[in-house]
């Protein structure tokens, strides 16, 4: 079985700055693999270990994102590919999925694709479903348990976690799965693999390699503005002579403000 995993490198802390030209500036913040993508990586490794095969990890980004790919290699994935081109900068998750689909097609022989349910920076939860659509294969989002993967019968059975229910779904392969937290326990990289990963050469695929024409990724949304969250109205400490007194005063305020 050949599993693909799409991962995104994101800032560990979201205490980012916004530049005057409306870009998010995460300089100085440690980059990590987006939380949910760690579960995607682990699940790809677990499932290929069961049935045999290989895992290829991809990211659409810049040279700096090779660090995330090396971390994935250190976890045990077999191949890593950086998909990078000036045209792909800041294109958003929907267009990134179009690029991802072209990269998956270039890889060619995949059986299953894993993504995180959403990135922890842009948080659009768009890439996986859009990728599946561009590849014309099924998508199964919010997967919290993979019951079985059969690359020969080309079938997967899994559970999706919805708000109040759990759905058991079967699907043909290839398919895109997006993973939630706690679907597994992501492994720690071994020292040996870290060393090997640091020396690995990571191929870079650009727009020309993928047959993506200039202008075909024109964004359909634009940032009119990007600002920090508005400060909350200044609050006040409710003081009192005892816990009971404080509680009673607070309740009065909540009633006066028609909150309760």
């Amino acid at each position: 079985m050949h599993a693909l995993v799409f991962i995104k490198q994101v800032p560990q802390q979201n205490s980012v700055k916004i530049t005057p030209d409306k870009h998010v500036d995460a300089s100085g913040i440690e980059p990590i693999i987006s939380l949910f993508d760690e579960y995607a990586l682990e699940e790809a490794l677990l499932q290929t270990e069961k049935v045999g095969g290989q895992v290829t990890v991809l990211t659409i980004g810049t040279e700096a994102d090779k660090e995330a790919l090396r971390k994935a290699l250190a976890m045990g994935v077999d191949n890593a590919i950086l998909v990078s081109d000036p045209q792909f900068a800041d294109i958003g998750s929907l267009a990134a999925a179009k690029v991802g689909a072209a990269a998956a097609r270039k890889v060619g022989d995949f059986d299953i694709i894993f993504c995180g349910k959403q990135s922890t920076d842009d948080e659009t939860a768009t890439f996986g479903p859009a990728l599946a659509r561009y590849l014309d294969i099924p998508v199964l989002t919010y997967v919290f348990k993979v019951e079985s993967v059969d690359p020969n019968a080309k079938m997967v059975v899994l559970e999706r976690a919805l708000e109040a229910t759990i759905e058991t779904v079967e699907s043909t392969l290839p398919a895109v799965l997006t993973t939630v937290k706690d679907l597994n326990q992501p492994r720690y990289p071994s020292l040996l693999k870290i060393r090997k990963a640091s020396k690995a050469t990571i191929p870079i695929w650009g727009a020309a390699d993928l047959g993506i024409e200039a202008g075909s990724l024109a964004p359909k949304t634009e940032y009119l503005d990007r600002v920090p969250p508005p400060p909350r109205p200044v609050g006040s400490i409710v003081d009192g002579t005892s816990a009971q007194d404080k509680a009673a005063k607070l309740v009065d305020k909540l009633v006066d403000a028609q909150v309760i």
């Binding site: 979201n14 503005d225 909350r232």
Partner: protein
């Protein structure tokens, strides 16, 4: 004429609250864009949702009613929506942000080459243009989006608009046929979660953190206060990770994002990842023994002291007031 469509989700005993809210929003947007409102209903009993929408003032509903739509599957719902959208060409489609909607909308946007704004906290018309607001980066960045596409799909959070009122009106139902589809996915079974918690719909949420000191203490103090308020209860990640409380209750960047009318944070320090999930709440009450705790920076009202004393006192005070 430009049409603003609302996806009509079936809820318990009628249209889902989000759909009623979106009818209000769509009416406002349609007025701003010089267009009209219409509904989109898909399902095995979609005509029922259509009739319910007429009662909330929606004049027209596009419907595909078919047994293939009994259970939501991405491919069937995308195919059905595409059928109606490509034929009747709305300019805007509004949906909610339930898991199935967040599964559906990006697929639809990709399939139709539409613009997408996911999980927005506001959408308005400014100078004749549609503008959507969505937080990202754990609510540390507020993005204002404009669109350059003939079709814009927007998933909107709960409680952005008030629910539409019933008008007793009637309307026109426009039926489409379910397109032929080779189903590649199948829902085998659906079971209820044993510990399902609906935090997103709660008007009042009381959350506890490590300051509660033990799972027993949390269980003793937090649910009782939530119950007095008639609300739901949540938790910080610290105590979810410690195994005191199931993940379903976690509020924050890697848990649920909530914006209730009232959020009460008890023994929670106010880490940026926790704030990401609750800073859009209407009124925030913080209860913490450390007057320097960052949670007080976002609090409307703060109580400084020990949760062991303040929570029982508050429960009693709320009961006394609300019980009157």
């Amino acid at each position: 004429m430009a049409e603003v469509w609302v996806y009509l989700e079936a809820g318990e005993g009628g249209l889902a609250p989000i759909s009623r809210e979106l009818i209000t929003k769509a009416t406002e947007l349609a007025a701003g864009l010089g267009g009209s409102v219409a509904g989109l209903a898909l399902g095995a009993n979609a005509a029922t949702s259509a009739s319910q929408a007429f009662n909330y003032g929606v004049p027209k509903v596009y419907v595909i009613e078919d047994p293939a739509l009994e259970h939501y599957t991405n491919e069937a719902y995308v195919a059905a929506a595409m059928e109606l959208i490509t034929q009747y060409r709305p300019t805007v489609v509004l949906t909610g942000t339930s898991i199935q909607m967040r599964d559906w909308t990006p697929s639809l946007a990709a399939a139709l080459d539409a613009a997408l704004a996911a999980d927005v906290t506001q959408v308005t018309v400014e100078g004749g243009r549609l503008v959507a607001t969505r937080p990202s980066h754990g609510a540390n960045v507020i993005n204002k989006l404009g669109f350059n596409a003939p079709l814009v799909i927007i998933s909107v959070r709960r409680q952005v608009s008030p629910e539409a009122k019933t008008t007793g009106g009637s309307g026109e139902m426009i039926r489409g046929a379910m397109p032929a589809l080779k189903q590649r996915t199948k829902v085998r079974s659906v079971k209820a979660k044993t510990n399902a918690v609906n935090l997103a719909d709660a008007q009042i949420i009381v959350s506890g953190g490590r300051g509660l000191q033990s799972p027993e203490n949390y269980e003793k103090l937090v649910p009782e206060l939530a119950q007095a308020f008639g609300g739901a209860y949540g938790a910080s990640r610290a105590i979810v990770d410690a195994g005191w409380v199931p993940y379903e209750r976690q509020v924050g960047q890697t848990g649920k994002t909530v914006s209730p009318k009232l959020y009460v944070a008890c023994g929670i320090s106010g880490a940026i990842q926790h704030l990401a999930g609750m800073r859009n709440s209407g009124t925030i009450v913080a209860i913490n023994r450390d007057p320097e705790a960052p949670i007080f920076k976002v609090a409307t009202y703060g109580l400084v002291g020990d949760v062991n004393e303040l929570l029982p006192a508050l429960t009693a005070a709320v009961k006394a007031k609300v019980g009157q």
